[in-house]
């Protein structure tokens, strides 16, 4: 990308990076790392023409998510705390990803944008 002075990097992060949700500490640690490197890489690569951003997704019942075996009470608690009162679906992240991949977002870099129904409001 730097050779062409053009690029859009989008990291898929998680609400876990910003919230303390019990269990999964090594997973949340990796997401905290992603939050930090999104900033650092943006500060290094954006002067070279590359936008680096990330989307922090809320709980979304995908196949991978089911492997975490979240207890139902915890899911209910999270949904109750979420202003939009629902879980995410994969389609919820598409429009923002498209925006960040497009030149319409050329002034956005280093950001981790929460799309999680309002669960985290940094």
């Amino acid at each position: 990308m730097v050779k062409r002075k053009y690029g859009k990097i989008i990291n898929i992060n998680s609400a876990h990076a910003r919230l303390g949700i019990p269990g999964n500490s090594e997973y949340t640690g990796t997401k905290g790392a992603m939050l930090a490197i999104t900033r650092t890489i943006a500060s290094e690569l954006s002067p070279l023409g590359i936008n680096v951003n990330s989307i922090a997704c809320g709980l979304t019942p995908t196949e991978g998510y089911r492997e975490s075996n979240y207890p139902q009470e915890m899911i209910d608690f999270v949904v109750g705390m979420t202003p939009l009162r629902r879980l995410g679906s994969p389609g919820d992240y598409v429009a923002m990803a498209v925006l960040l991949a497009s030149d319409d977002a050329s002034f956005i870099t280093g950001q981790t944008i929460s799309i999680d129904g309002g669960l985290a409001m940094p």
Binding site: R39, P47, R85, R86, G91, Q111, I113, G117, G118
Partner: protein, 266 residues
């Protein structure tokens, strides 16, 4: 599990005319960032209401927006006056029957001035437009939106809410209030079908901004700090405003999203 996003989002050419059939109010939409957002929303098919205090400027902007090909209404209305706010809502409902989108954009600037020298007059004027105005415009419009269980509220915020920029204490304080208000109103209104979000803009040389008299060294410092190494342009905020006004962002609420070249990365 209820999937709430329509699969049309995956079709080629989906992102066109996403605001058709919607009615948007943009306060202070006569110039600057507000006017760019009004034009962008018109381009996506929304009918547009712009408000402001300067009639000649409003009429000029109204004409430009109408030329995009949508219905447009300009209302002389001061966001710091309760009667004007109600009048803005009443006239919009009278003309269009509904309000789907509110962009709280109107704000005033004062020349940069050290905190220790600030006086009550500028504090009162800034907070009455930049905070009280946002507060009660949102309340008046949201009272209408909750009846229809539908609404998109977009606050135009600033980097100032999150970074300490010297000389702008009252302006920054009002923007900090907006940051908190965006969260609180999202928590209250999102269960009722209303998304509340904000765009935190970076330094953008609009006419209003010129009134702040930023010293050149401060501007240079900002541009040097921002990984993208430039100031903003009103157009930079349009695509995100359209996304937040559309149903493609139905799972986003309570967020204040920086569009600032990376000057701050909260």
């Amino acid at each position: 599990m209820k999937i709430t996003v329509s699969s049309s989002i995956f079709k080629k050419g989906h992102a066109k005319m996403r605001l058709e059939g919607k009615v948007a109010i943009i306060t202070g939409g006569g110039r600057g960032i507000g006017k760019a957002i009004a034009l962008g929303m018109a381009g996506e098919g929304a009918d547009i209401v712009i408000t402001g205090r300067n009639e000649a400027r409003l009429q000029q902007a109204e004409k430009e927006i109408k030329d995009v090909g949508v219905n447009t209404l300009a209302i002389k209305s001061d966001v710091s006056l309760m009667a004007d706010i109600q009048d803005m809502v009443d006239k919009t409902i009278e003309r269009f029957g509904q309000i789907d989108i509110l962009v709280n954009n109107a704000a005033i600037y004062y020349p940069i001035c050290p905190f220790l020298e600030k006086d009550e007059d500028s504090f009162d004027r800034i907070t009455s437009v930049n905070f009280k105005g946002v507060y009660f415009c949102t309340q008046a419009v949201a009272r209408h939106m909750v009846k229809r269980k539908y609404g998109k509220i977009i606050n135009i915020n600033s980097d100032n809410a999150r970074i300490g920029i010297p000389g702008l204490s009252d302006y920054a304080g009002a923007k900090g209030a907006m940051l908190a208000l965006t969260r609180t109103i999202a928590a209250e209104l999102s269960p009722l079908g209303i998304n509340v979000n904000a765009i935190a803009c970076g330094l953008t040389p609009t006419e209003g901004y010129m009134e702040s008299n930023y010293p050149q060294e401060l501007i240079d410092f900002f541009v040097g700090m921002a990984p993208l190494r430039r100031l903003g342009m009103p157009e930079d905020y349009v695509a995100l405003a359209v996304l937040l006004a559309s149903d493609d962002s139905s799972f986003i609420t309570g967020q204040t999203i920086p569009v600032n070249g990376g000057a701050s990365m909260p």
